[in-house]
Symmetry: C2
Subunit: 484 residues, 2 copies
């Protein structure tokens, strides 16, 4: 393996590139083969890695073998992979070609492929044509929902401040529910909206933790009465805690009445809406100004990838464009092309479109739907396990591939302790990893199906493990706790 | 090639993963082998790709061979690659492991490796200990300078508004020079600072386009006199247009006197400062609050990667943290660990640290310095070519690997047309791609050395091409123009 010797220096020699890359491919394939053998949650203490690493960078190069040897999969306790071979291949192409497509002229292919792919995915979700390039709107790939919301918020903010004056920025109000992802609050604060102007409206069991349009209307009226300016409403399709779905159509009408920007965050459950039987969750999307969903969550696309569509792309450009001399070019000035730098936060951008493009082509819509349905069926199976055991209950109706359940407490006040002990016992075993949430004051355990490698047997084993640990927790809570 | 058949569906099967990944490795290696044969700038018209793609996603999966066949390197006109095999391998590991390390508990390894690597790079740059974890500060990996500046700006903004009240957000002022990257203006606007409160202070030939500390002081005094609040000063080490370096130490004293946050944007030239002979450009860094540099620009790290250090990490957390119930965990509550989600914009994050870690280990500091020095030597060679030809002049003194030059116009008024024609003729040939800038009113052509595959013969050929096109442009400007 002469090309791996480390006294030469050729940072991008095609021969050693090929040889070393294949070593890493084998390393990762081995990792996938053996991933079940490793504990799911790292059993390490803070600072553990400091003891394994020198505190300064090596002066001389090291051979790849040495570097990979240090890279035990044991290091990665938490493996939440909505990954696929196609997603990996797409990412390899993105990285290998290393295109920096901030504007059209920098990479016409990266720009145009992104537009094409965004129309493809938009059509897969049956978005109204007004969100597609072919219908006057358009889409862009971001890394995360937070970036997508920041850009939408900034566009909404600047459109309103243009009319009422920038000094009114402290009057703008943003609305979501207590189930909306925390990213909305973070984004609002980042774009300069006072935290006191963020409304986290309460939801309840009675309507499955969906945002109530009447509550939104009332909150907006109250804010207007107080001299504030309602700006932005975020509705969620598939909340993080419980998979709740906000009523888009009714919220859309409220947003319209108050001239408020409606954004739909379909980060998680948007992927399911490529299946006709789930598409109704997006009914009302035509009333929104923007919508985002994350293929990296549930559409076999490796991190990171967030799709964002908008009906009026001009509003992104108005808010986010910069035109320094060193980026001027005749293509941009012709206004016939898209410069994606003006649709996002950063100037530089990775060629994520090629990843989505490979994922879609390699799987086809057919298999992508199959993948969603398989996960939903696994979740149904888990839900059935829970329902059959009278010690347990499914707390929130399952809509997608997330099951929210708990051990029934003898008295309501004991529910949190009982179930947090159960969760610690399960995670402490190292054989599975789940997380919790609190909805309507109730502590629930979340079983989120969606890891690409999960099969029926894993779901059944998980349930068996939960039952075993439940027995311990119910009998001798102290014992189970000590395992953690 | 049974595993490539497309009537089965196994999105992450280790055998087909390995087989298909190696096909892509070969594809990318071929691309590197042949990259010289392709035109450097795409000669395509807006919308060209629409005609090559179906307007909806395929329903059935396609074999990888078909997908790669569509993927001609001809599509990628602009190849600005500070890539390396090690950077690619690191990115493969990041993608293959698909770690989503938003907080410590989600991936202790990703979190701790990032802290270790940030201290490594900090020491390579000889940053003061106050920027390292080992000295009470710390570093984080972002995707771009814009994100790094947004987080620094938000931290600075919230620290000040905490004292003077959020309604004063419209009084905050941000300072840079007319050479500062446009990202500062974009970031300022994004965090809610009025565009009228952005100061782009003029620079001039007389001090090599560096920001003048006296001008900053005067601007701040004037703003205070007008009831405004100076907030943030951005100094640049290696500007985009001409590679200028702002005087950090003097600016640091001004920032201190006005209690203003000083950020250093060393996106481009920071990489050079790992070499002792360039380190003096960072003198004064000890007076800054934060500093960023991009290994993806000049340190053999594939896109994307921006290092950001801060002396008081608590200020990031104060400004950016969210703590929803579903992310609560005992590790975070112990305050003994870093949750990087509170040091950046998004919640989710890729495992970029493993990429930097592989790049540093595989090359060693020794070869990284060799790489910088090679590029600088190539730039010196190009500069010498320019200096020897009396028709040309080097307009701005070269500091790093960027040479700013032009054809001397007979009359100053003709300089822009003459040189923009020359640039169009060179780029129009498809054999090379350069960009322009305007500094001190003068149109310059930028020859930026830094692509990993650039060798002496490429620099010499480029110069020959420039001379040929110059001859045409000087004799018959009309003819050369038509070539574009």
């Amino acid at each position: 393996m002469g090309s791996l010797s480390f006294n030469t220096f050729s940072p991008l020699d095609p021969e050693s590139f090929s040889e070393e890359s294949k070593m890493v491919v084998d390393f990762i394939a081995d990792y996938y083969r053996n991933v079940e053998k490793y504990p799911v949650q790292s059993q390490v203490d803070p600072g553990y890695l400091m003891h394994h690493c020198p505190d300064t960078a090596p002066y001389c190069p090291e051979p790849l073998e040495t570097i990979l040897r240090d890279q035990s999969p044991n290091f990665f306790g938490y493996f939440q992979a909505n990954a696929s071979t196609a997603g990996f291949l797409g990412e390899m192409l993105c990285t290998g070609l290393n295109v920096v497509g901030f504007n059209w002229i920098a990479s016409p292919a990266a720009t145009e492929l992104e537009s094409i792919v965004m129309d493809w995915v938009g059509k897969m979700l049956m978005l109204p044509p007004s969100f597609l390039f072919s219908g006057g709107g358009g889409g862009v790939l971001h890394g995360s929902t937070c970036e997508a919301i920041i850009c939408s918020l900034a566009a909404a903010r600047d459109k309103v401040l243009e009319k009422i004056g920038h000094h009114k920025i402290t009057k703008l109000v943003v609305y979501g529910s207590d189930q909306t992802h925390s990213t909305l609050q973070k984004a609002s604060k980042l774009v300069g909206i006072p935290t006191s102007n963020f409304r986290s409206l309460p939801t309840s069991f009675s309507n499955d933790f969906a945002l109530c349009p009447d509550d939104v209307r009332a909150a907006m009226e109250e804010d207007i009465g107080a001299g504030l300016v309602p700006l932005f409403l975020c509705a969620t399709v598939g909340t993080t805690s419980s998979g709740a779905v906000d009523p888009l159509e009714a919220l859309g009408h409220v947003a319209k009445a108050f001239k408020v920007w409606l954004h739909i965050d379909a980060a998680y459950a948007g992927s399911a809406c490529i299946c006709p039987e789930f598409r109704h969750h997006l009914n009302g999307v035509e009333l929104a100004h923007s919508i985002s969903m994350n293929p990296h969550k549930w559409l076999l696309t490796n991190m990171d990838c967030c799709c964002l569509w908008i009906k009026e792309p001009k509003l992104f450009v108005d808010s986010l464009s910069t035109a320094p001399e060193y980026l001027r070019n005749s293509a941009s000035e012709s206004k016939k092309v898209i410069d994606y730098k003006d649709w996002q936060i950063a100037l530089s951008r990775r060629f994520r479109a090629i990843k989505v493009w490979v994922v879609i082509r390699r799987h086809g819509l057919d298999n992508l739907m199959f993948h969603i349905r398989s996960d939903v069926n696994l979740a149904k199976r888990f839900e059935a396990h829970v329902a059959k055991d009278p010690r347990f209950e499914v707390v929130v109706p399952r809509r997608f591939a997330l099951v929210c359940f708990r051990l029934r407490p003898k008295e309501e006040g004991e529910g949190t302790e009982l179930n947090s002990r159960l969760l610690m016992a399960v995670n402490g075993s190292g054989a599975a990893f789940m997380t919790h949430a609190v909805v309507g004051g109730i502590y629930i355990i979340r079983c989120a199906i969606g890891s690409t490698l999960t099969e029926t047997r894993h779901v059944d084993s998980l349930w068996k493990l939960i039952q075993e640990k439940a027995q311990l927790v119910l009998q001798e809570p102290g014992l189970a706790l000590e395992e953690d």
